[in-house]
């Protein structure tokens, strides 16, 4: 609650010009920003950096697959739009403070310290990103925003294979946090929450991780908990052109003006029935996914990056027609517009009453159009053989705000104007 000024250190370690806030083209932050400037560690992974908060788009949408991540969904308790504004301003200021690694002032021994202290006095560079999205419930009758709802945003409904737990679905606000380790993410979450206690009440959260391997062009850096490479054919977040085509809402899309530069965020908490999966034959697993488990290559091909060449396999002799990768991305002209930017992570939340491990994928996709993006892909996947081993238990549809381009401006400013 303290309004005390923070000590500003202004020590952005982000690579060169990419760190300059507000420039068009600052979208290609993240991966490339770090790669050019930050020295790589012994295992070939780039050293963590401070990613900039300010930019045309929110940084955490296109930064590289994080080693650690969490999503926290909140209900917003506010009596009017002014209170909502105050909350968004506080979130903006806190996100900026955290991402820039600004240390908090020392208030002396009589006060509670202003930060948790879990990262020491000077928070280290940690690839930290905080990204804010809002759910369809923000546009109900509470704040008079109904007319400003992104046209494709709605409250997630149950799909055929879902077993949704309503206590792990939806929410007014979704705070996405990612970084190089779980303690960094939890630190950020606690700082955000202590700042906003009067208005934000946790609804659900999920925490997780990605195994990161040294990056190679066209190779997925991560495997999911089914043991398969995940993200090989994902959009390259460092390509402004691809992001502009598939991820960012643009003028002329028929969306409200405030949404331009933002992105639809689909979140699905997908439980994997791992014991059952681990008992499935390797051949079955590979046919279900459509890839060789070890190499990640499409079935019948040599290399992970090889084209699956569906035209050469019209009857699915090599890669079954209902294989996951074939349904998800048929690689046809017509399905080009269905491409989405995936940025999910694996989670583990103990075990269920039956003694089975409770783990899976916190699926996240960003897209310019929810209908053309996630919903179209999901529609193709409906009934896929993989469904025997997975089920969605939570999540929701959100809209990630455009970026904040300068100090003093705040997330959601144009929405609330």
């Amino acid at each position: 609650m303290s309004e005390q000024p923070r000590i500003s250190r202004r020590k952005f370690v982000v690579g060169g010009g990419a760190g300059v806030a507000g420039l068009a083209g600052a979208a290609a932050l993240g991966w490339n920003a770090g790669k050019d400037e930050a020295p790589a560690s012994a295992d070939g992974l780039p050293a963590p950096v401070r990613l900039p908060f300010h930019g045309t788009h929110q940084t955490g949408i296109t930064s590289h697959a994080p080693a650690a991540a969490l999503m926290a969904s909140f209900n917003l308790v506010a009596d009017n739009r002014d209170e909502v504004r105050a909350v968004f301003k506080a979130l903006t200021e806190e996100f900026d403070t955290l991402m820039s690694g600004t240390p908090v002032p020392d208030r002396g021994e009589h006060y509670p310290p202003l930060d948790t202290g879990s990262l020491g006095t000077n928070p280290p560079p940690a690839d930290l990103t905080l990204t804010l999205a809002i759910g369809a419930s923000m546009f109900d009758d509470r704040f008079g925003l109904a007319a400003r709802k992104p046209r494709e945003l709605f409250t997630m409904t149950k799909l055929a294979n879902d077993r949704l737990d309503q206590t792990r679905c939806h929410g007014d606000l979704l705070v996405n946090i990612s970084g190089d380790s779980p303690d960094v993410c939890l630190f950020a979450l606690r700082q955000v929450m202590r700042r906003t206690r009067a208005n934000l009440v946790l609804k659900w959260m999920v925490e997780g991780f990605n195994r990161r391997e040294a990056p190679k062009p066209g190779k997925a850096q991560v495997r999911n908990l089914l043991g398969f490479k995940d993200g090989t054919a994902n959009l390259d977040p460092s390509s402004d052109a691809l992001m502009g085509e598939h991820v960012w809402v643009a003028q002329g899309d028929g969306e409200p003006a405030w949404a331009v530069g933002g992105s639809y965020q689909a979140v699905r908490i997908i439980r994997m029935l791992v014991e059952q999966w681990d008992r499935a034959q390797l051949g079955e697993q590979e046919r279900i996914i459509g890839r060789v488990k070890a190499s990640g290559a499409p079935l019948g091909e040599q290399d992970e990056t090889d084209d699956p060449d569906y035209e050469d396999d019209p009857r699915g002799d090599r890669i079954p027609l209902d294989a996951h990768i074939r349904l998800a991305n048929p690689r046809t002209k017509a399905t080009e517009k269905n491409k989405i930017l995936r940025r999910g992570f694996s989670y583990s939340r103990g075990f269920d009453p039956a003694g089975r491990l409770d783990q899976g994928l916190a699926f996240v996709s960003f897209q310019r159009s929810l209908d053309d993006g996630f919903l179209a892909v999901q529609d193709r996947l409906s009934g896929e053989p993989l469904e025997e081993y997975i089920r969605a238990e939570g999540g929701g549809y959100f809209f990630a705000f455009p970026g904040v381009q300068r100090k003093g401006a705040y997330l959601g400013q144009a929405l609330l104007a």
Binding site: M1, S2, V77, E109, Y111, P112, A198, L200, V201
Partner: protein
């Protein structure tokens, strides 16, 4: 989850510091170590065990508060006035608590289920107003206010004594024929609490922390409906927590106004808003069942009291209390 919450353990930890003004230990760091191990042992043990382990901690060791700090003196006459006022308040509440509870226990001993049910929430009011301070005396808290663990909440828990076991007998069992011993035990414990009053030395820090811990109580046990899980009279307790916190804060307000006028103003507003947030659930002279509070309304209460807890956390800093 042990019945005695960690927050309550923290309260007991203050207790240790407070009551051990004459404690022989003179090495502050050793004292801290002793106490934290006592608390964590309590946190991991069973309901009854948790309480008694915590009680043990309070009897044997200090906390982080050094001997000098707990002498309770203050240079600020406004703070001293608050401490004196709070000492009187606590004494009044404890004395009234013994009387109020006897109405409840008499009904139990008479076998009158309806009268006992009616007297249950009222008997707890004064306890809930001063609980963090009352918990400083002996092992009262564990003996009178323990709850069964979540896993066994639908079964009788013979190791649990005090209000919540009687609550179980009344609302779940619906039979209090064998509850007389529990009623007698509750009376005895509260009389012990009363007898311990002359030894209770309240420090400025305890007044401030007492207020914030009462609101922590709200955020922890009441807001979930866990405290009075059989009777659903949580709102009675919740309101009593707020009343107790408000009393302590009101007494400190002249000093806070001088030290940090902005914080003083925020606290005034926050307590008014807390009352407003609770107002819709008033029911005659009492409170509605907590089951009548919807999830979204519980969210609103959570937010309100979490914000208040954050503010109260700054009071010791503003007053430079240690």
């Amino acid at each position: 989850m042990p019945s005695t919450t960690t927050r309550r353990l923290a309260a007991v930890a203050i207790a240790a510091g407070l009551l051990m003004a004459g404690c022989a230990k003179d090495d502050g760091s050793a004292t801290r170590t002793d106490c934290s191990s006592g608390s964590s042992a309590a946190g991991g043990s069973s309901a009854a065990g948790g309480s008694s382990a915590a009680g043990g901690a309070s009897a044997d060791c200090g906390t982080g508060i050094s001997k000098d700090d707990v002498a309770g003196s203050t240079d600020d006459p406004l703070v001293q006035k608050a401490v004196d006022g709070y000492q009187t308040y606590v004494e009044e509440q404890v004395n009234g608590l013994v009387t109020d509870t006897k109405v409840f226990t008499d009904a139990v001993r008479a076998g009158d289920v309806e009268a006992a049910k009616a007297a249950y929430p009222t008997s707890r009011q004064r306890w809930e107003r001063i609980e963090p301070i009352a918990a400083l005396i002996g092992d009262t808290d564990g003996a009178v206010d323990s709850r069964a663990e979540d896993g066994v909440k639908d079964t009788e828990s013979p190791e649990v004594t005090g209000w919540h076991q009687l609550e179980y007998d009344l609302w779940v069992k619906g039979d209090i024929a064998d509850s007389k011993d529990l009623a007698d035990g509750l009376d005895d414990e509260l009389q012990k609490l009363q007898a311990g009053l002359p030894d209770l030395k309240i420090t400025p820090l305890a007044v401030a922390k007492g207020a914030s811990e009462l609101i922590e109580e709200v955020s922890e046990g009441k807001i979930t409906g866990e405290e009075d899980r059989y009777s659903h009279t949580d709102l009675w307790d919740l309101n009593a927590n707020v009343e107790g916190a408000k009393e302590a804060t009101t007494l400190l307000q002249p000093a806070i106004k001088k030290a940090d006028p902005d914080l003083a103003k925020k606290l005034d507003t926050a307590f008014v808003e807390a009352d407003e947030a609770l107002a819709p659930y008033k029911d005659g002279n009492g409170w509605k069942s907590y089951e009548d509070v919807s999830d979204s309304d519980r969210d609103a209460l959570k937010a309100k009291f979490s914000a208040l807890a954050e503010m109260l956390g700054d009071v010791p800093g503003a007053l430079k209390l240690s």
